[in-house]
């Protein structure tokens, strides 16, 4: 009896020692989580029900911020339209561009690693530099593209200065900087078993069949991953539109995170900005869950039993 008790006692002491040791090691994250994630999460939830201008204490408003955003704000509709337009096109187009470029890099080519490095490079260049370079390249008068067009006697294209073309131009720049997705796709393409292609060749499949019936299905898990990253990143897209178009022209590129940033740090409407942030959070969660739900229909997990 006393033996089992002391054994149990020793065991629980060891358990406690392990727990303390574990907590000690993860304590940096735990402190960060409490101070820089959990507290701000709760605080912003509270602020979203208040009017708060930083000068005086928050005033509780109930659901007023949310109701105002959806019913009275004159810009919110335009901002939502811009954001959905941008995300809806940039995420799939970015994934398609990255997948095709990775597939091209995965074929028998000369100098693969040099091409891969070049394709990847735009993804790691500072966003400010990307913005400055494209602002200059796409400049209506002196940009390389329009100056060339003028040199050929053609009319210029107002890429960033026309409300109609500003969003497509930003989407194009997004497709240009797909380095991360390309590298991830390339790794997954190299994991597709050779034997599948060999078997298909024996069955007389042509290159297109092999691409469409083997390569694409085998890569669907990674396509899903990149698509989700594209959607999440698209909703939070800030730096390039902020630097390239400042939300203009005529609010054509006033995206969600720009609108939120302005409310917080230009107008000091901390309550409304928090409400906007929570709406964004909910939208992102709904989108992600919907994508995961849909994945049962189109994502193929080779490890899973059918």
């Amino acid at each position: 009896m006393s033996v089992t008790l002391s054994k149990r006692h020793r065991k629980s002491a060891a358990r406690r020692r392990n727990l303390l040791l574990g907590l000690l090691f993860i304590s940096p994250w735990l402190i960060g989580f409490l101070a820089f994630t959990l507290y701000p999460l709760i605080a912003s939830f509270y602020y979203s029900f208040t009017r708060y201008d930083l000068l005086s204490n928050p005033v509780f408003l109930g659901l007023r911020n949310f109701v105002d955003i959806f019913t009275e704000d004159p810009h919110f509709g335009q901002v939502m339209y811009n954001t959905v337009y941008y995300v809806g096109l940039s995420a799939p187009l970015g994934v398609i561009a990255a997948f095709l470029m990775a597939s091209l890099l995965n074929t028998r080519i000369v100098g693969r690693s040099a091409f891969r490095a070049l394709f990847f490079f735009p993804a790691i260049v500072p966003a400010v530099v990307t913005a400055m370079v494209w602002a200059f390249l796409l400049n209506v008068q002196y940009g390389a593209i329009n100056a060339t067009l003028q040199g050929l006697g053609l009319s210029t294209i107002p890429f960033l200065s026309s409300p109609r073309l500003a969003k497509p131009s930003l989407i194009l720049i997004h497709m240009w900087a797909q380095g991360n997705a390309i590298v991830i796709f390339l790794a997954s393409l190299q994991d597709v078993p050779r034997s599948l292609y060999e078997a298909a060749t024996v069955d007389g499949a042509n290159a297109w069949h092999k691409f469409w019936h083997i390569t694409v299905p085998m890569c669907t898990p990674v396509i899903l991953f990149n698509l989700i990253m594209g959607f999440i990143g698209g909703f939070q897209n800030f730096t390039l539109p902020w630097l390239l178009t400042q939300g203009g022209p005529n609010q054509a590129t006033e995206f969600y995170s720009l609108f939120l940033y302005r409310n917080a740090f230009s107008y000091f409407r901390m309550g409304k900005a928090s409400a906007l942030a929570w709406i964004l959070f909910v939208i992102i969660v709904i989108f992600t869950v919907a994508l995961f739900r849909s994945s049962a229909r189109w994502v193929y997990y080779s490890g899973a039993e059918e």
Binding site: R15, L19, L21, G22, F25, I26, P28, W29, I31, G32, F33, A35, F36, T37, P40, A43, S44, L104, R108, I109, F115, A117, L118, F119, F121, P122, V125, P126, A127, V128, M132, V133, W134, F136, L137, Y142, A144, A147, T148, Q150, G151, L152, W176, V183, I184, A187, S188, A207, V222, Q236, W242, L243, L260, F265, M270, A273, A277, W278, L280, I284
Partner: protein
Amino acid sequence: MGTKAQVSSSSTAVTLEKRERAHVRSVTALIGAVLRHLLLIILALSFFLPFYWMASSALKDDSQVYTIPPVWIPNPAHWNNFPDAWLQYNFNRYMVNTVVRYALPVTLGTTLASALVAYGFSRLHWPGRDVLFFICLMTMMIPFQVTMVPLFIVFKHLDWLNSYLPLVIPSFCGSPYFIFMLRQFFMTIPQEISDAARIDGASEFGILFRIILPLARPALTVVALFQFMWAWNDYLGPLIYINKEALYPLALAINQLRSILAGVGISPLAYPYLMAVSTVATIPILIGFFFTQRTFIEGISLTGMKG
């Protein structure tokens, strides 16, 4: 006689046909290869030319910028645009701010803390570990914008605005992304190594610093490299917390230079100067990437795949 001749001629026809088919196949393969490389080169140009345009424009003077059709090879090349733009607009100071005040401390903090936390989440067994790790992963889902406002308010009350503390201090709590990445790496190290060290009386900190970290050097390099680059490239973080010009990092300073130059109308040398400082801000990334390409690309595919 007749039948024999027939057979032989038909077999000749078969081999001929086969040879022809093989020939056709090799020709289509050749055409395919040529088309693939052509496409690759066009794509490569679309990635290369913007950077070439940036670097070559940095060497121009006004008459070479405002020209139709555009000048691709400036002659004469104005190399002094680089030192002129850089020194005239105090870019040494912004460079020091970026590296010394921001990128280096953040890299140190993130790498150290993430390794410590990843060790606790992978090589120690304790009750509640997996729940907390799951929470840690979930926090990656939270959009930056949700915590942005309260954090700003907290840092304002702490009087940390116009300093790098709001960006540096949280980095010493580790980053979930890198904690995850290092944890995956630590898990691949055999448990026996730790057990042997424990029997020899090593403490857990001793095991982490003397055994695990040296083994995990490639993964740690990826963490440090990525974090340094993110800090170097970061725009939004400094934008929120820093509005004192003397404290600007390169990212803010470059955009400010654009406003300064645009403020005077189309001022002389606006574009060449802007392109010159942009080129200089890109060069460390280019050099770093050149020397660590493999680590870089393995790091990206590692984090993407194991997710």
